[in-house]
Symmetry: none
Subunit: 209 residues, 4 copies
DNA sequence: TATGAATGAGTCTTCATTCAT
DNA sequence: GATGAATGAAGACTCATTCAT
């Protein structure tokens, strides 16, 4: 895949990736300008199209690149932790780590989720089915100890509710642009509150003892 | 407002509205092609721009048209019902009514929420502040009897979770394109299950007796 | 010529003529909008094009209409006056009369002279060859007593210089927008000075005695 | 300024300049068609807009280009010559030089002076204030020996008459399209006659001795 | 006859993609 | 391989002219 691009100097590759992420995140697939990307990356127009044969190919490459990058970081998680709420607590911490290291990645992912351009819509959907950020069957929810849930509820539905809450909360928070320093801490505390609430409601009484 | 368009024959108006909704829903504001719209609506290029003076005006018209259309249907709701789950049950029924009468409306609304084009972004935000479809403080959640909720949870957070679940479930379902007849019934039954689950978990024991 | 238009009520005709003159004078042939004209004249678009089959026909009609209108006023001149400078003095007075009565006419004529649109350029040139405003062979310079000119100069050339001076002076003055009351008087006095200068230079000594 | 255009091959540049001058001179700013220009210049639509970012930029470029071109040629004039008629004789020769090298330039300048389009009106006015082609106070009439004029006339008025005669004569000649070879010579001789006439009339007797 | 909505060729401008150097 | 100028289809929008009512 992308042999010409792969054999470039790492620094040049990074320049191109950063320039492209920046532009796609800012403008979405349609509006993103390849002119802007080559200018930012300091390469020739023709070069970009020799590495990636089309705007679409470049976009799909970035999509995979970022998803893999995030997947790698998720490997740090303690996958032996079987409590779903504990795991989601850790995930929140990890997300902040990614964010601090690579803030544009999430911008791109957010733009991804809102992408309407038909050329890339299906690619996104395909890729996302396997991704960490997708629905309840993803690896985030593997090896969860389901015995802790109340017996009178459908566990898969409960997990879906938890998942949707996590996604919606994250989106809500990212829409509040907070520049002050300790916003992380506050957001994490708020998220803990949501997790506690759900734990109290969805787990058996004795689990909340 | 839009006097020329308003005085068109209803069928022609509907053609144009449907063609425009279809195109905007498929491609978003920017990429949507007025050429495509006039072709689909079977009118001349000049006609579209005599009804609406710009692409933006057409978009804003649709935005208001659909929001008002949905608002009107929402008036059918029994707003004296104070049980949140009962109300969401009724809302689900109403949504299906809208969907059957005007299937593209929700597609457009979904695209709306994801719209990034700066030309229309602020229009969307302004209009949506008053809309039914907005966040948990909207009229859907007015007059809710909060005394039914368990005393040990934050009620606003619980309502948020319920709201996010409703939105996410609806989106999930609309992504499953079901053409067979009775899918409504099945989807409503599934939604009832979610509501029951949340009721059982978030309400006081005696409310579920 | 223009039978449909001719048989209209005089008031309606005048409305249309005034509206058209105004628009053509303001914007030139190309930019002039038939929409603007019908709006100002309070008639339907289709009517305009049934009176005049095209924008061009309307323009040519106006051209002839105004030239004839001005020709008629020129009939007031004392054509027995054979002194060229005396005649030009009277013409200046008459021009102010026309201007006061029908200010748009000169605007239109000025726009005429600057018209570039190829559709009407040749029409203008043709018409103007016969017109009062054109070159030295026009009726303004008929019956002039050429014996007053110095014997050592080419009289036709002298007349051309006088003519060009008249045209250029008029244009210069009309470019100075003077709203204060007595600008007429001042402009006429200045013009007299030019006439005196040329008389002193182009006539025999004894004529200036 | 216009770096992309500047670095084109001279022949290509000339093609574009000629095509653009031709079209603007023929139709004025508004009606001039960029389609026509690219067709005539044998370049792609996109190319024109990569050299000049808009129709207006192209127009302003031409405006400056031609004015500078003419200014440069005017530098050849013997500015120590203080006799106004001698100077105007030399200027006529120079104008023919320009005309032979760059025949469309004067057409463009003529159209320029008549241009009404608001997009470029102010640009034209700004540029023309400094230009050689402007009114009687321009450098053409600097350093003129006014003592040669008759004492009994207003010198500024006399200069105005001379200036207006020069402009009007030039316009009259350029309207007579003469393709036969020796028309220059004839036109220059005719112009000399005009100059002689005015010299004889406006100068003191002893200057004509 | 009068109307004005409908028409569609034409306007300037953009930008992903190609290809000669 | 790298370059970036050249391409031209497609974009939104205008307006003189036509024609069904």
């Amino acid at each position: 895949m992308y042999p010409k691009f792969s054999s470039l100097e790492p620094e040049k590759k990074e320049n191109i990736i950063n320039a492209a992420i920046k532009e796609f995140a800012r403008s979405g697939y349609d509006r993103a300008s390849t002119n802007e990307i080559v200018k930012e990356a300091n390469i020739a127009k023709g070069s970009l199209f020799s590495y990636f044969h089309s705007k679409k190919e470049l976009y799909v490459f970035l999509l995979n690149y970022i998803v893999e990058f995030i997947d790698k970081i998720y490997d740090e998680l303690d996958w032996n932790e079987t409590d779903i709420f504990q795991r989601l607590k850790e995930i929140a911490v990890i997300k902040f780590k990614i964010y601090r290291k690579f803030p544009r990645a999430f911008d791109f992912l957010k733009a991804l989720a809102q992408e309407n351009a038909p050329e890339v819509k299906s690619e996104i959907d395909n890729r996302m089915k396997k991704a960490v950020l997708d629905n309840g069957s993803a690896r985030i929810y593997r090896n969860i100890d389901v015995t802790k849930f109340r017996d009178d509820i459908d566990i898969q539905k409960a997990i879906n509710i938890i998942h949707w809450t996590a996604l919606s909360f994250a989106e809500q928070q990212s829409n509040n642009i907070n520049s002050y320093e300790d916003s992380d801490v506050e957001q994490l505390r708020e998220w803990d509150n949501y997790l506690d609430l759900m734990k109290r409601c969805f787990y058996k009484k004795e689990e909340n003892a």
